[in-house]
Symmetry: C2
Subunit: 241 residues, 2 copies
């Protein structure tokens, strides 16, 4: 008597359902049946199944295996293509691991681009969100420049004051803070010339870039903070965040 479905599945190291699936899609011919409907497999079926499971573990899709046919020609070209594919997958995973290492090493929030891994750590939630958004719309080079700025520059007292600014801060407080921040931005612009042109290279075009930043600012900061930003721009009329 011949093998049952469970038996060839076990001999081939696969599952009952997998064997039936290979029948369903026409990858493995169905064997003869006994009078009660039970399937009876022979060596040729086992051979075919062994080939299938081998190719599956190597990483071929069932479609590819079907295309390879049941002949015994050596599919060198397909094997090389698969190898190249595996090489790509390995590289991609290695890049991901490098990124993970950066994130883990820096304790960087997971919603920030990993270029910012080296940045000084204490952002307010609004700042973090703002940086996440700007990080998405800036082009690669500008993002790197921005990241460099955040990495080299320590947090200043004026930053704390800005974060803590209440929505109803009075006129004098706002103007004074705007002046201190403008002085800071001026200094940064000299130290990091890229800041002057920030927004020149974006992923969404200059118009969407401006719109996006404006919307982010509108939602993330309170009226007094937004007013301080406006005043800053009057004092030091350059693009800035």
């Amino acid at each position: 008597m011949a093998w049952s479905t469970r038996e060839i599945a076990e001999l081939a190291g696969t599952s009952l359902r997998a064997v039936r699936h290979y029948h369903d899609i026409g990858l493995l011919p169905e064997p003869e049946r006994r009078s009660n409907g039970y399937k009876q497999y022979g060596v040729t079926h086992l051979m075919r199944l062994l080939r299938i499971t081998k190719l599956v573990t190597l990483g071929f899709s069932l479609h590819q295996i079907a295309d390879l046919g049941d002949g015994d020609e050596h599919p060198a070209e397909a094997l090389r293509a698969l190898d190249a594919d595996l090489a790509r997958q390995i590289e991609q995973r290695q890049r991901l691991r490098a990124e993970l290492a950066e994130i883990l090493g820096s304790g960087l929030a997971t919603d920030l681009p990993s270029e910012f891994a080296g940045a000084r750590k204490e952002f307010s939630e609004a700042d973090r969100n703002f940086i996440a958004v700007i990080g998405r719309v800036l082009g690669k080079k500008e993002r790197a420049a921005y990241a460099e700025l955040l990495t080299d520059e320590a947090r200043m007292e004026s930053d704390d004051d800005f974060d803590a600014l209440p929505a109803d801060a009075d006129e004098t407080t706002r103007q004074e803070l705007a002046e201190r921040l403008a002085a800071e931005v001026r200094r940064l612009s000299e130290q990091f010339p890229a800041v002057k042109t920030l927004g020149a290279e974006t992923t969404v075009g200059p118009r969407r870039y401006r719109e996006t930043l404006d919307r982010a600012i509108g939602e993330l900061y309170n009226p007094a903070q937004r007013d301080v930003m406006r005043r800053m721009r009057l004092i030091y009329p350059k693009e800035n965040g």
Copy 2:
């Protein structure tokens, strides 16, 4: 006015459908709608979406992302688990590439276990099938021993005669061939002591092992060849293939 679905999708570098999918599974809250039913996204939605897409590209499943919650705690443990997983995936792919290299280098048929990569090449189809089957049912150590035998031993004239043996070969031819083959097997048994106990360590148990080999022999070789095998066993009474 706020962002449309297409707009946040583009800002986050993902697809319209992906955003809707995140809504469907409750990963991303739906925003307010305009009177015409159009969705209007704000910065908080963009932030959430950015976090999701970032974690997706790192390799988290949507379930895992849901479990991480929308808080901004640093998911260090999850990141480390993911890293370990990526390391495993890389290793597995490297093993597959090594196996592919062996197969490609040797021109080995894809239905044979790759341990047999070094084996002498000219198997008859029946032999190849038989080796594939026995390769599956032998345990790892015995498979290695068998592979070593096939690697070191050159093909003999008697092998060719056996492959070419017609189903109606006469008595004398069979007996003579059986004697030559038995002598060969005796020599091999001395050179490779593992041959004597072949079948002791199997993946399917001794009973299924014997059954499997018998069925394979029955289907792969003609009556005269099977008779020669029987005679061999009488002359040199050891397990053999």
